[in-house]
Amino acid sequence: MLTITDLSVVFPAGNVQALSELSFYVAPGETVGIVGESGSGKSMTALAIAGLLPPAAKAVGEIRFWGRHFVIGVSSNSDWRAIRGSELGILFQDHSTGLNPLLSAGSQVSEVLRFHQQKSKREADNETARLFSLLGLIPAEVRMRQFPHQLSGGMKQRVMLAAAICCRPKLLIADEPTTALDVSIQAQILCLLREQTANAEMSLLLISHDLGVIAQLADRVLVLCAGQLVEEAAVAKLFSNPAHPYTNLLLASVPRLDLPLALNVPVMEDNDEPTNGCGFASRCPERVSKCIYNPPLIRLSDGRKVRCHNRR
């Protein structure tokens, strides 16, 4: 349904390779998680798919989305606009500043419906009210009339979710959708996402640094490190038996409620000098001499993909 081929993003000004040759797909109805630390290129992936990369970024790559074909750097803004908001919904992290402070919550959802589906004001308002009730923004009529500053963080994020899915998109990209929220609100939003993707047969591309969030929702997980895909596997396999040492480190580092902290986490100093080799080599406990060369992404016998010299 969504296929990304050889997506690379470079910031020439800072000489930063944000993403290099990332290829993956999202099947209909599937939830794909992208996990990685800050600076790993997670968010750039989301922006690239929506054609919203900052102009300072130089990017190449191809995107196929439901039979449409986009070439990054060639396709124009109006090409993207045909899918944004209608077939492709996007949910960002910034719930606190993501809504226009001068417009009521309801009008910010109904304007999407009116813009993309040419609905009358009444039709759009009815649809918005239905969606508000569905997402627990009740009483819907009251919530629709309220302004962003009158809503709590969780409610604002639900309004944003309503605006992102009101046109029944085929794919929803959620970039750190719960990062700034309290855990109880986070749980609500995650449950809503789980429910909406299941009921509406919507694919979800979930981007998060939180392995907990990824584990709860994703069917398949991509692990990014320094702009490269280092591991791709079904969620159960990835968490039970990580193939890449980076994935291993992430999993060992995450604090858990059921296990004590792994005190043997390999603590290596960051190395801020850029390398041509494996992006994880400077911190890798299994480093060997050939890690100064970038390993290829290989497919293991159980179907997962991994980028490491030590996994052959």
Partner: protein
Amino acid sequence: MKRQQGAELYLGIALILLLTVLAVFSPLFANYDPHQTDAKRWLQSPGEEHFFGTDRLGRDIYSRVVYGARVSLAVGFLAMLFSITVGTALGALAGYFGGFADQLIMRLTDIVLVYPAMLLALTLAAIFEPAIWLVVLVIGATGWPAVARLVRGEILRLKSLEFAAASRMLGASHWRVLLIHLLPNAFGPILVAATVAVPAAILTEAGLGYFGLGIQPPIPTWGNMLREAQNYIRHAWWYATFPGAAIFITVFAFHLMGEGFRQRLDPDSQPGRGRRAYYH
């Protein structure tokens, strides 16, 4: 097309240096005594002898423009020093200590800011005997509230960052926090305010001179030259053109420099750089 970064800053600084040299060493650049009248040579158009022509009393306009730079730059710098010093001190006190001091200082700025500055300057200049210190005082007195508000805002913003609190916890006094942690971080905006204050003062001084309330003849200032010129504009285009152009170039140089500083401080608001404000 790639823009030369900081071109404004360097051009501005170069022009200002040039003008300063001109003002300090006026006698070296002026080829005539600016006060020397010559009844036979009045209102001569620009030529080889008189680059910018002569005025109604036959004085050399070029030499008078060169000497005029002294007054303009002196008033500009002194008034800027006055408003920056007073404004920074009061703004920092208001922002850091808040409470009653803040209320008092902010209402004071409100009061000064509602006066149209030029009107206030005109009034004061009309009541008191015009002299250079008075002109400086009058311009400085109308200029400090804007600086005070700016500094207060900066201090408030910086105070809310935790490094001030962290330093207090280590035992630092209020003065240490204010002088070592807060004010140095507000240096950029104050610098920009200073570079804006100079041209504003120069314009006001010239305006007062034009209305006849600035520094009085026979001391040549660009403002009082324009005042003399205005009755001759029909016949002597050079009379008003050159002193005005001198004001324009001086003020423009300071604005260029200010713009340059602003670009360094806040690259986001500048063309084609920084955080992407707008993208597709």
